[in-house]
């Protein structure tokens, strides 16, 4: 039941797909369309003394993460995981995603973002770009994307990036926190996600391959380079501007905070595959779940956590970004994020008293 009073109504309406939520969506979508497709914000940025509309956008984005982050730090102050993680994500945004690129620009260095990697930033492995960077940046791009990202993913899961470092995740977990419950939990949404995210990954890998081939062939392949160029333009428009910008952030008040991360982000797709092979998991305390559903409700990735918890099944899902909110909201302390192979003595909980029967009846119809 909604609390009494006008402000409580407004908060509820905004966070439960009410009229105000639709209005906010319209505003956000309009903002992103103007930002990506027009020069509307250029004079605004100039008048503020900023070099471009992208600097203005970066500033707004960072402010959103900081104010949302302070709210989140207070809200979850009793949970150390949330406090540490949120502090890190705020720090990364301010330092690596905003200040350092600006400083580099000021000193006429390449505007380089140390907190983004291929394929999220596909120019990082675009030979036409990366081979023209100073060696240090080029090495960081290659080793970061091909070695560091998957390696950390194996040990700590996808979360090291998606909910500790990435700006998209940063916004979702700070300013987006009041909207996190809107992500669809249906099994249909899960089916869609599995197809869409791997499709985008395949497209971005193909694009990168084409970029390398046409770069290698040089002048000999003008038709191919023209095709690759068009491909790249379409990709930049559809995937970067439309999916990650307009749809990803614009639809927050309707589709929840992780529409982009869950369904389209190629980086998340790679990390998800790595996560399935690695040691991260959500441990489920046996026979303690009361099926209340808070964990599923507040999962921003749309994972039906409850279905695992009530079936006494510890699990690793590719989409899980390890934000830890399921463990935070669970009123019975059923869930725990862990890197199973790097376990402290708490690992003793791996030895379980056998559940009542092996085939738990609450795991319906072999869904997983």
């Amino acid at each position: 039941m909604v609390r009494k009073g006008k402000s409580a109504w407004l908060v509820h309406d905004l966070t439960h797909r009410g009229l105000t939520a639709w209005l906010l969506t319209a505003l956000l979508v309009a903002f992103y369309l103007l930002l990506y497709l027009t020069h509307f914000f250029t004079p605004v940025a100039r008048s503020l003394g900023l070099s471009s509309k992208w600097t203005l956008y970066g500033l707004l984005y960072t402010l959103a993460i900081l104010t949302g982050g302070i709210h989140v730090l207070r809200k979850y102050r009793r949970n150390r995981y949330q406090v540490v993680r949120t502090s890190v994500v705020m720090f990364v945004q301010v330092v690596f995603a905003f200040s350092i690129p600006e400083i580099l620009k000021f000193f006429h260095q390449p505007e380089y973002y140390f907190s983004y990697f291929w394929p999220l930033k596909f120019d990082d492995l675009n030979p036409g770009v990366v081979f023209h960077l100073p060696l240090f940046y080029a090495l960081y791009s290659f080793l970061g994307a091909l070695v560091m990202v998957p390696l950390l993913g194996v040990f700590f899961g996808k979360r090291w990036y998606c909910s500790w470092v990435c700006g998209c995740g940063g916004l979702a977990n700070t300013a987006g926190d009041p909207l996190r419950h809107l992500t669809s939990k249906s099994s249909r949404a899960w089916k869609f996600e599995k197809i869409s995210i791997h499709f985008v990954l395949a497209v971005s890998v193909l694009l990168t391959a084409l970029l390398f081939i046409s770069y290698g062939l040089g002048h000999r392949a003008t038709a191919l380079s023209r095709f690759t160029y068009d491909f790249q333009t379409v990709y930049a428009f559809l995937v970067v501007a439309m999916l990650s910008g307009v749809i990803g952030a614009g639809l927050y008040p309707l589709g929840g905070t992780r529409v982009w991360c869950r369904n389209f982000c190629p980086m998340a797709a790679i990390l998800g595959l790595v996560q399935k092979l690695g040691s991260f998991r959500i441990a489920v305390k046996p026979n303690m779940c009361i099926s209340c559903g808070l964990c599923s409700k507040y999962c921003e990735m749309g994972i039906d956590v409850r279905s695992y918890a009530q079936a006494n099944q510890s699990f690793t899902r590719a989409s899980c970004v390890g934000c830890g909110l399921c463990a935070e909201v669970c009123p019975r302390g059923v869930l725990r994020l862990e890197n199973a192979r790097l376990r402290t003595p708490q690992g003793a909980s791996l030895v379980r008293i056998a559940p009542l029967t092996s085939a738990s009846p609450l795991s319906p119809g072999g869904q997983r």
């Binding site: 039941m1 609390r3 046996p286 009361i290 559903g293 409700k297 708490q346």
Partner: protein
Amino acid sequence: MRYVIIGNGVAGITAAFTLRARDASAEILLVSGESDYFFSRCALMYAFMDRMSLRDLEPHERRVYAKQNFRLIRDWVTDLDASRRLLTLQSGSSLAYDRLLLSTGSLGEVPDWPGLNRVREGAVHFVTLQDLGRAESLARSAREAVVVGGGLIGVELVECLVYHRLKVTFHVRAPWYWPGALAREEAEIVSEHIRRHGVDLRMDEEVAEILTTPEGRVCAVRAKSGHEYSCQLLGIAVGVSPQIAWLRGVKTPPRLGRGIQVSSSFETSLENVWAAGDCAEFSANGAPFIEQIWYSARRQGELAARAMLGDTIRYDPPIFYNSAKFFGIEYTATGEISPSLPGVQTFFCRLPAREASVRITERAGAVIGINMLGARWDHSIFERWIAERRDMDYAVAHLPEAQFDVEFGRVDLTPVAAAYHNWRARSAAAK
């Protein structure tokens, strides 16, 4: 084979899944008067507090039921004729069964307070969906509330009413909060915490009379202390009892006590009729007992279904455990936890600067109960220690293995070890 299950609570639905897993072609029907679909009763408070919608309380996607080929019937059963294996529903239709499971759960207990029979509006329980609806509509208009009953449902209702900004007085009959499970020290931690949320918590307070307006609206509660508490909402949370009243008037009532009496294989006194969950009454060494928590209902539902399928079942309640949350304080209990057990030794330690405590109870050199407040613990490890009859030294030394706190948030147990050392030395000196 046609199985009919009365009650789509956790006991009933678990039984249905178990039956289906073993018998793909059986006809399985669930009849329930309260709701169309299974929902989590333990989560009622989150619907009341706007954290979830009613739909969110349903643990399964609705299409699961069609996939499992269950027939769901929304109706109340009003008559049972075991000689013809026939049920009558409130809508008038009848329903035949081959095997019947009664999993009818419980309802809030109605106390015999003077004046309660005059009440037309303003008094609520907090057990069913219908209770929730009534509580919500009252909470919209009421400013003050009195909640009576110092157990788990009481504190949940109090939390909901505080969320809706009512001025709440919480009456507990006992000298401290929840003496069935907590000792005075733990109860103090919990009481302080409840009070800090603005609740006027009154111990040793008992209802003398419910006062009503001439139209029958609750307007105040007069306590035995003489105090009068003005209120427009009275929450009754003095316990639950099996929902069996309807069975007293049927053609062939099963043998009833406080609940539906069953054997250790869930058979009632009627042929082809079993019972499980909150409504089932067992007897152990001649003494009747009823388990009324989620975990037992679920376990019983599964085992009763196996009994219905013909398995030999002897239900023996495993080591008890439970958990709860008092506003922000989490609570985990395992084993025998009543603070008034005879012949036991108890080590208690309140963690410094935290609303947290550790209590370990030992009898004849073996740990029998562990009661934890304010941190997260894996009760299954405690169960193992109790089953293995470990002593207290072992338990204290191995406590870290059972910690289940979030990463970076692991509670520091060095003060517990130190306190245990002192306690041991003192109890040795006393001997």
